[in-house]
């Protein structure tokens, strides 16, 4: 089956412009969809944060311990992201494993 290139199309003149516009429209729609996804993720994060903050309101003794628990997974993600950039995926996995092993040992106190 012959590959269809824009330039190949015998009706290239007018469809070329439409295609660019269409492509723009498609990109825009895609961007808007991704944007909505990001927005709804931020909404969810904010709602979760509000709910936990509301529940913790009367009984927070050491704030940082609660904050720690909530954001630990996020910090882990960040650490992994950075490590991946620095040393690559395989070595990162090894670092993560050894960190988890260390933590399991020290949490046994």
């Amino acid at each position: 089956m012959p590959s269809i290139e824009p330039g190949d199309n015998p009706q290239a003149e007018t469809p070329k412009k439409l295609t660019v516009t269409e492509r723009l429209k498609q990109s825009e729609a895609e961007r808007a969809r991704l944007q909505r996804e990001v927005d709804s993720l931020s909404d969810a994060a904010l709602s979760k944060w509000l709910l936990i903050a509301h529940r913790e309101s009367s009984h927070v003794a050491m704030t940082q311990t609660v904050s720690w628990r909530i954001t630990k997974p996020l910090r882990q993600v960040r650490l992994v992201q950075r490590k991946v950039v620095e040393v690559g995926v395989v070595q990162t996995a090894q670092v993560v494993v050894s960190t988890l092993q260390k933590r399991r040992k020290s949490s046994g106190k």
């Binding site: 940082q64 720690w68 910090r75 650490l79």
Partner: protein, 485 residues
């Protein structure tokens, strides 16, 4: 109080008011002879009367009340009543038969706290070094207070040793002589901080009424000017220390910055009709310490990480020292990919929850940061030498020994661009930043750490600084107190 004690005290009072008087007379005659001095008595005589007859230093209300009694009633009758009952006749007679000794024409140095503490922080170091120098060339009398903080007494040998050298930290628990001291026509120096109300109220009355000339060393007014950085409870004690200081003749502050804090306070005294003391800055000296090669290597091992250049931060973890800014600035640089290690030395932590939290986060992320709490001299002086630079972005200092020490050793310092820290850095060797600006701090640290030209220049500047010793300092304070007008 026994009749004998009453008589003894009257005799001492008479001898002080009239040196050479014949005290070998009946008690009633003693009363009459002393009474001559109490018709329209001056304040210092009223104060002395109370101190000797009550065998404790009076507070202001005591002096004012007695002064008024002398106006309203016959002096001899009042004298007799006080001699029999002590200072507060509404309180049951004191069982004590303490002996008091009046000391005259003496330089009395009050080191009550320094004599009984094992602490070796800023203030204690200044006091110890200073009085150790003074004892070499001047006659001074080291004193402390009794356990209820109502009268002065001479220090025991162990207490004096601890005051001078810090080598007997439990001296305060030794039994001490019962004899109390009453200064008369003396110079009274308070080189340490006194905050107990019982003590400050008596020092205040002594300064206001007794005629003794009083001087103090002023460290800072942080409990007044940065109260939010210290714990509750310090403000009132410090303010009452200042109430006493309002009647002193001279304050030698440890920096111009401290002088401006005390001067600001003195400007407030006019509302209370007081003039306040003369205030002058006598700059602290800078120690460089010394270490053996072995100690140097040990310091490197403890503080540095691998071969990374070391940033050293000396001082306690309290809000004013601003260690969170150091962590933030370091993190900014690490995120940029900069390679260096950070070590905190000096330990006491107060109000440092967020600092500990952020430190733990950084450690978990594998950042090369260490903290050492138990600090020895070897570690401190070794650390200064091992470091590529030190950092000290304090918000408010009376002096800032770590800045001076770093520069004395020859190690560049990144520190606050105002106040006493800027004063210390004026001869060079420092990078000055706004400590309230994390990025400026990061930039200053980067410059000292990674710009070889800058680092070399700073080291040259530091090496060229003039040396000031504890002997210089002690002499300058003495001259200010005794020689200058």
């Amino acid at each position: 109080m026994s009749k004998q004690t009453k008589r003894q005290r009257l005799a001492i009072l008479l001898e002080t008011l009239e040196p050479g008087a014949n005290v070998d007379v009946p008690t009633a005659q003693l009363v009459a002879m002393v009474g001559k001095y109490l018709a329209n008595p001056a304040d210092d005589v009223v104060w002395l009367t109370l101190a000797v007859l009550g065998a404790e230093l009076p507070v202001r209300d005591d002096v004012v009340a007695l002064r008024r009694r002398f106006w309203l009633e016959a002096p001899v009758a009042v004298l007799d009543a006080v001699a029999s009952a002590g200072i507060r006749s509404s309180i049951p007679l004191r069982a004590s038969n303490r002996v008091s000794r009046v000391v005259s024409d003496t330089v009395v140095v009050d080191v009550h706290h320094t004599a009984r503490t094992g602490l070796a922080t800023g203030i204690q170091r200044v006091v110890r070094k200073t009085i150790a120098e003074w004892t070499k060339s001047h006659e001074i009398l080291l004193v402390g207070w009794n356990s209820s903080l109502t009268s002065l007494r001479e220090l025991s040998a162990k207490e004096a040793e601890n005051a001078l050298y810090g080598t007997a930290p439990h001296a305060g628990s030794d039994a001490v002589a019962d004899e109390i001291l009453i200064p008369w026509k003396c110079d009274y120096i308070l080189p340490e901080l006194a905050v107990e109300d019982s003590r400050t109220s008596r020092i205040a009355a002594m300064a206001e009424f007794s005629g003794n000339r009083s001087m103090l060393i002023g460290f800072d007014c942080v409990p007044l000017t940065s109260a939010e950085t210290i714990g509750a409870g310090m403000g009132a004690g410090f303010a009452r220390n200042l109430v006493a200081a309002a009647h002193f003749s001279k304050i030698a502050t440890i920096s111009e910055a401290a002088a401006s804090e005390y001067s600001g306070w003195r400007m407030m005294l006019g509302s209370a009709g007081l003039t306040g003391p003369q205030i002058k800055s006598v700059f602290l000296p800078s120690d460089a310490g010394s270490v053996t090669d072995a100690q140097l290597a040990a310091a490197r091992k403890t503080l540095a990480t691998g071969d990374l250049p070391l940033v050293l931060c000396v001082g306690s973890h309290e809000p004013r020292k601003n260690h969170l800014a150091v962590l933030t600035a370091a993190e900014v640089l690490w995120k940029q990919g900069r390679q260096f290690s950070l070590a905190f030395v000096g330990g006491n932590a107060w109000g440092a929850e967020e600092f500990q939290h952020r430190l733990a986060v950084l450690e978990e992320e594998g950042r090369p940061v260490k903290t050492v709490h138990a600090i020895t001299d070897a570690l401190l002086w070794g650390g200064y030498r091992v470091a590529r630079c030190t950092v000290f972005p304090s918000i408010n200092e009376g002096f800032g020994l770590p800045v001076a020490e770093s520069l004395a050793v020859g190690t560049p310092v990144v520190t606050s661009g105002y106040g006493s820290m800027a004063e210390i850095a004026v001869q060079g060797g420092g990078i000055l930043v706004d400590p309230r600006d994390d990025e400026a701090l990061a930039s200053g640290m980067a410059s000292a750490l990674f710009d070889d030209d800058v680092n070399a220049r700073l080291r040259r500047e530091a090496a060229g600084r003039s040396v000031r010793t504890w002997s210089d300092y002690a002499d300058d304070v003495w001259d200010y107190f005794f020689t200058e007008a």
